[in-house]
Symmetry: C2
Subunit: 233 residues, 2 copies
């Protein structure tokens, strides 16, 4: 009997925004896997730290801080092999995922490698999208409104076309693209409707009108644009 | 001291997919509010039922099964007034919301009425979007891919334009629009990449290729289209 791989969403960062199912699986896990970036402490592990058993075995997927793909592919290959060895030995593995495993999550690369051969269960999590909306006090979409989630690194022309095509827009991975995106939204007449959120639900959380947000945004920051919800039904 | 209104996301339906924070707030609540549709049992209350204290006061927001706005507005007005009376008396109120309160949720209408006057805290929840992706085994978006969430009742021309503009598309509120949307996706060459999900995470869950889904879909059903994720990084 091979084991089951659980890809477990942890939510946006506050430990109590993980689901009851995630907490139960993490607390009962004999083997935990998680990503870490270039040797830094793993954010995913930090969210779950209080639940991890003292004698759990831990598989660290150490991702290089590089934009070329080959080193990251090698890291996922090695992580998948270590997880597969535990599954082959009949042990379940709980893989910790910031946010939701299938929403811009590194778990997707482990899933691609392991789902063809092993039983994989995915536990969805609260995404940063609704966590940011909650903290900003900004309802996202109602009735027949459309929501578009866009990565900030997309070029201006693509951003502009997609921003025009939905009532509510969430721009992820803002980082160093903030000044460019702010100028673009200003040019479209949307600056006053846009809010900037950083570290939603965590200590050091920042919620500001985009107009007054600092130029040097971290990678995990977000812009939320709601054009004109009709909140009164 | 007036009380605080907590808008609490419950997730997609399985009780253990609510967050630890939601469970703590519900378990400790002296006053609970929730929507119910036309006198039917409340789905939101059913998700949370095991956590609600036996002596909790319950405010039912009984929504009419009508498409015109006035009767629903009156129901939200009455619900907001009942909640405001508890808050004025110094009691906190926990309002139960299927999914996430700010994502196509009826809580948005209570928020519009009460947030200007009272302290309101929103607890984000797992949405049906990531719950459906988890159950279908379909990673949603990676890297610089865009995700678009569309309500099924939108007319064909709008659906077509927006489907063309994103790598991954989630179509909510499918219901009786299923045959029309299926024909549209077929015409765009996307039928083979589309999956149909109904009652994700609940007993009676259905996950099918869209090509073989039944014509008579319930309102709470979803179509998930992933055009071409590159899962290997």
């Amino acid at each position: 009997m091979t084991g089951t791989l659980h890809g477990v969403g942890l939510g946006p960062g506050a430990p109590d925004l993980m689901t009851l199912r995630a907490a139960r699986l993490i607390g009962g896990a004999a083997v935990i896997a998680y990503p870490a970036l270039a040797g830094a402490p793993s954010f995913a592990r930090a969210i779950a730290a209080d639940l991890i058993a003292a004698d759990a075995r831990e598989i660290v997927i150490d991702l290089p801080m590089r934009t070329d793909r080959a080193p990251a592919q090698a890291a996922y290959d090695a992580g998948a092999a270590a997880i597969a060895a535990e599954l082959d030995a009949g042990c379940d593995v709980v893989c910790l995922c910031e946010g939701d495993p299938f929403f811009y999550g590194s778990f997707m690369y482990l899933f691609a490698r392991l789902a063809p051969r092993y039983r994989v269960e995915v536990v969805p999590g609260v995404t940063s999208v609704t966590a940011c909306a909650a903290r900003a006090g900004r309802p996202l979409v109602a009735r027949n409104e459309a929501l578009c989630v866009l990565p900030g690194p997309l070029p201006d022309a693509e951003l502009r076309a997609r921003i025009a095509g939905a009532e509510t827009i969430v721009i992820m991975k803002v980082g160093r693209h903030l000044p460019r995106i702010r100028a673009l939204l200003d040019g479209m007449g949307h600056l006053a409707q846009a809010v900037y959120v950083e570290r939603a639900s965590l200590p050091g959380e920042v919620v500001l009108p985009l107009a007054t947000a600092p130029d040097d945004a971290p990678y995990f920051s977000m812009i939320l644009l709601t054009k004109g919800a009709d909140p009164w039904l």
